[in-house]
């Protein structure tokens, strides 16, 4: 069935693949995204998967944008449905004028037909039955066949695809020819039966420069290798597992001692998250760089130890790949909802340094830097990323490393330092007046520099005390250290509109791409907006100044309770009325049109000239 009006666009589309999980579709879908990338086009794939291993519906949503937008757009132009389980819902989801590509080996339920979209049938199962004898081959090649058909339908360069197949099966060359053959089957079928390309198509561009396509978790793992981590204690949890897997993958390549063949790293899969962070604290206490990665439920379990690391002042690096909470929540959906839990993790007066990366490059950089920060500040550094950034291939500037860079190990007394000291070593003495004391690694000196590390109150010499004034003095010093931290943590990224604006938007992490896109639309519609990307907590003065200098300030985040806003209100003593929350928390990455809509609604209510709400979904605007 063909609709009379079809969406027409070049290099601007959202295509969604509806698959059954565990059926091998992921590698075909990845190949599709990578092919778009290799055609010099901005691509942002999002894997929307169930908490399940085999048999349930799973989706892969890919946005292509000629303007380089990589936030989620919303709206589906083309649906490729190879899962009868989800077909009814998938058909409903296609935007009017869009295309529904499906396996028509078996007749479709006619009640599902829509007359405002175009149906394109591909007999995937029939082709496989004719071509292959083996069930596993039939299943796997089905995926490759629809990628081949898409090459014809939306004009993907076939050479790019064959190049990707050659890369993917490097070392297993036998598999190259059959995969290319399967792709050709799809290509030929589509070309023979449909007018190719459709009104939505791709054209090669040179839009990407030296960009790379990488997931944030792997970037974190690699950052830990470069940052000098030698110990990782961890417990498997979606969506953080691939951080340590990435670390291990690169360690196996880059961290084998050439002389002995032994590992210059230790990875211990712990019995739970408590033990995972306990190991990290033990290793850090003993002078190694160590880290763990987890998600929300792990943060709850690690809270006790985070309090110990804060109070006993032990460097700790923790990567929290956030997912939708509370409790088990939606384990395979994204959110930015561990902010409060991380900022104040553990009982008593505790607060922690947080950093918020937005791109894979920043995942890499901030992970490496987190080890410097943790050792310089002698406290936990929690990096808050999320499922969206962590598990989806995301376009990013390339990674780089300054080879003259040295690790900043912080204030550590060596045996020589201790030997030349006339005064008694005091682990918690504020020698430099910045709240950061000096530490010694265990085993440094036979008679000097030993101390007892404890979570109980102690005096400056690490001796147990219940003296209230000693306790208070120590708590004040920790507060001074907190102030010092503001000078060490990554500064915000502020962008002021051409002529400046009285409206400001605060954003962070994966809310950034969509926010910047929304600001483009608002600007086009005549509403200039300044923006400030928060990269760390504690907030430094620039963030407070940004808030002070704007009449209306929106805070964009992906949680229900406006957690970042609460932190700002609390820590910067800001009038809550000054900060307007923009909150998306359905578990799907936030979109530009959502942010634009919320800002426009608010400004409309505030009796400002009405503005268009939803130009992000308006394809004609981009032609």
């Amino acid at each position: 069935m063909t609709a009379t009006n079809t969406i027409t666009s070049v290099n601007d589309l959202v295509i969604k693949f509806a698959n059954v999980n565990g059926s091998g579709s992921a590698s075909a879908n990845n190949m599709f995204a990578k092919a778009v990338f290799r055609m010099g086009l901005s691509v942002s794939p999002k894997n929307i998967f169930p908490s399940n291993i085999q048999g349930l519906p799973t989706w892969y949503e890919v946005r292509v944008s000629d303007k380089g937008y990589i936030g989620r757009r919303g709206g589906i132009d083309i649906m490729v449905c190879v899962n009868p389980q989800s077909m009814a819902k998938d058909i409903q989801e296609v935007s009017p004028g869009g295309f529904f590509i499906y396996d028509n080996t078996k007749p479709m339920d006619l009640r599902l037909l829509r007359n405002d979209i175009t149906f394109i049938g591909l007999p995937l199962m029939r082709i496989c039955l004719d071509e292959y004898n083996d069930d596993r081959q039939r299943q796997l090649f089905k995926n490759v066949i629809y990628v081949g058909a898409l090459a014809a339908l939306i004009n993907i360069e076939f050479d790019v695809l064959t190049g990707l197949i050659a890369d993917q099966f490097e070392g297993k060359e036998k598999l190259i020819a059959p995969n290319i053959h399967a792709m050709e089957l799809g290509f030929q079928y589509a070309q023979k039966h449909y007018q190719c390309p459709l009104s939505i198509s791709l054209q090669r561009r040179d839009n990407l420069g030296d960009k790379i396509l990488m997931d944030g978790n792997t970037a974190c793992g690699l950052g830990a290798v470069y940052g000098g981590a030698t110990m990782a204690g961890w417990y498997p949890i979606t969506p953080s597992t691939s951080v340590v897997e990435g670390y291990e993958k690169y360690c196996k390549r880059l961290r084998i001692d050439p002389g002995t063949g032994k590992n210059n790293y230790a990875i211990i899969q712990a019995e739970d998250e408590l033990a995972a962070i306990g190991m990290v604290i033990g290793a850090s206490w003993n002078g190694a760089r160590a880290f763990t990665a987890t998600s929300g439920p792990g943060i709850s379990l690690m809270s006790e130890f985070l309090g110990l690391a804060y109070f006993a002042e032990i460097p700790t690096v923790l990567i929290d790949v956030q997912r939708a909470g509370p409790s088990t929540g939606m384990p395979t959906r994204t959110q930015q909802s561990d902010i409060t839990a991380c900022a104040y993790a553990s009982h008593g007066d505790t607060k922690h340094v947080l950093v918020f990366p937005s791109t894979p490059k920043e995942c890499f950089d901030m992970t490496a830097e987190a080890f410097d920060l943790a050792e310089q500040l002698q406290t936990p550094i929690i990096m808050l990323t999320d499922l969206d950034l962590g598990m989806n291939d995301t376009m990013s500037d390339p990674l780089d490393w300054d080879d003259s860079r040295q690790y900043k190990r912080g204030k550590v007394f060596t045996a020589e330092d201790l030997e030349s000291m006339s005064e008694r070593f005091g682990r918690y003495v504020d020698v430099d007046g910045d709240g950061i004391p000096y530490r010694t690694y265990p085993g440094t000196h036979p008679t000097k520099g030993s101390f007892f590390t404890r979570g109980t109150s102690r005096d400056e010499y690490a001796v147990y005390t219940e003296d209230g004034s000693e306790y208070e003095k120590n708590m004040q010093r920790l507060l001074k250290k907190w102030e010092t931290a503001k000078k060490y943590v990554p500064a915000p990224e502020i962008i002021i509109a051409e002529k400046g604006s009285s409206i400001g938007v605060l954003h962070f992490g994966t809310s950034t791409d969509a926010t910047m896109e929304a600001i483009d639309y608002l600007t086009r519609d005549g509403l200039a907006v300044d923006s400030c990307r928060i990269r760390a907590f504690p907030f430094n003065q620039e963030i407070e100044d940004f808030i002070d200098s704007h009449r209306t300030v929106f805070v964009v985040e992906q949680n229900r309770d406006a957690q970042m806003r609460s932190l700002l209100v609390n820590d910067c003593e800001i009038n809550p009325k000054h900060l307007i929350p923009v909150l998306n928390y359905d578990g799907m990455p936030i979109t530009a049109s959502f942010i634009q809509g919320k800002i426009v609604d608010y400004m409309d209510r505030a009796k400002v000239t009405p503005l268009r709400k939803d130009s992000a979904n308006d394809n004609t605007a981009n032609l």
Binding site: F37, D210, I212, M214, L222, V225, Y226, G228, T230, M231, G233, L254, R255, D257, K262, N263, N264, Y265, A266, I268, A270, E271, D272, L274, A275, I277, G278, M279, V280, I281, G282, A283, S284, W285, N286, G287, A288, A290, F305, L308, L399, D400, W401, D403, R405, Q406, Y407, P442, G443, T444, H445, P446, T447, S450, F451, F452, T453, R454, G455, T456
Partner: protein, 350 residues
């Protein structure tokens, strides 16, 4: 009760091979109750390490929370110590050990810290065979919160409050054996002659060396009706035999009648010699140890002494093939692959 530790020592105190006297191995004055079994264990640890001539700063003392876990303050003042959180010492010790394989790790825990809140972490440290000595100062009760029953308290045992414990006890030595501990012993805080050589052997052992030391709580669990009081334990004690620990450098001089003894040579050449009191024990057999513990228990006896050891034990660093050099001693040169590698990684991501 003393609250100051005299600093005077006899001028002719014996010195060990490193030239240190026992004073170099002492810690702060104990704040535990007078007569606490734990203080005897601290003193046995001090004595054993002094005699082994290990430099005190090469030892790290690890503990959790509770009376037992306070004790590392009271010995080895020149060693770094880490009084972590309740029941979590095994993970902290594991991490510390991973960072520096060249140090010696002495873990001290209690029956609450190990058999209840810390049971999970304890079991996993055992199965990973972390290279450390792990002592449980076992008094059958929670001392620091005033005497509640712990999970090692025997059925029917009465604490000071007088209520008999209704729950089955956890026997940590048996559990350790079942989990694959590579060195298992039991002792009594009142029997230093037995405890000191066991500590020496445990420290020399490569891998997880577990010693369950029954250590009466004089304040809350030393009353008639308690099975963890001094009197009861003394009356019901049995031993697998006498242990001699002969360091590598010493010659073995003692000789025993054939069949009554067993000798184990450790990785560093030291020898552990067990003169058996019960010929049924084979210290290389977990099954034999487990059976004997049960047999003695059935006769209301507490079997102490060396129960099991595996001289071929492979500790965690060997299992994961980590660098011979301590991980914490590696520098940028060993650890950071540099920008050129990153350039090729970038290329693979396009």
């Amino acid at each position: 009760m003393s609250y100051l530790k005299p600093s005077f020592r006899h001028p002719d105190l014996p010195v060990n091979d490193l030239g240190y006297t026992k004073k170099n191995y002492e810690g702060a004055i104990s704040t535990l109750c007078a007569g606490c079994g734990h203080d005897s264990i601290s003193s046995a640890i001090t004595q054993a390490i002094f005699e082994l001539s290990i430099a005190p700063h090469n030892i790290a003392k690890m503990s959790g929370i509770g009376c037992s876990s306070k004790t590392p303050t009271y010995f080895l003042g020149n060693s770094h110590g880490f009084n972590s959180v309740h029941g979590r010492m095994p993970s902290v010790a594991t991490g510390a050990n991973m960072a520096n394989r060249d140090m010696i790790y002495v873990g001290v825990s209690g029956d609450g810290d190990t058999a209840s809140i810390g049971m999970g972490q304890f079991t996993h440290a055992v199965r990973r065979n972390v290279n450390m000595m792990y002592i449980v100062e076992n008094n059958g009760c929670y001392g620091l919160t005033k005497g509640q029953d712990s999970a090692t308290s025997d059925v029917g045992s009465k604490s000071k409050k007088g209520d008999p414990n209704p729950f089955e006890p956890i026997d940590l030595a048996s559990i350790a054996l079942q989990l694959g501990a590579t060195f298992v012993a039991r002792s009594f805080s009142g029997d230093k002659e037995q405890l000191i050589p066991l500590i020496k052997a445990a420290i020399a052992h490569q891998g997880f060396a577990f010693i369950d030391v029954v250590s009466p709580c004089v304040t809350f669990n030393n009353n008639p009706g308690s099975t963890k009081g001094y009197e009861y334990v003394r009356d019901h004690l049995a031993a697998t035999g006498t242990v001699d620990f002969v360091p590598m450098k010493d010659e073995i001089t003692t000789s025993y009648e054939a069949g009554t003894s067993q000798e184990v040579t450790l990785h560093d050449g030291s020898v552990v010699h067990l003169h058996k009191a019960d010929s049924r024990l084979d210290i290389h057999s977990r099954r034999s140890a487990l059976a004997l513990i049960k047999d003695y228990k059935a006769n209301d006896q507490l079997l102490t002494g060396l129960l099991y050891m595996d001289p071929d034990s492979q500790e965690l660093h060997e299992t994961i093939q980590s660098s011979n050099k301590p991980l914490r001693a590696l520098t940028e040169l060993d650890l950071c692959p540099g920008n050129k590698v990153l350039t090729s990684i970038n290329a693979s991501l396009r």
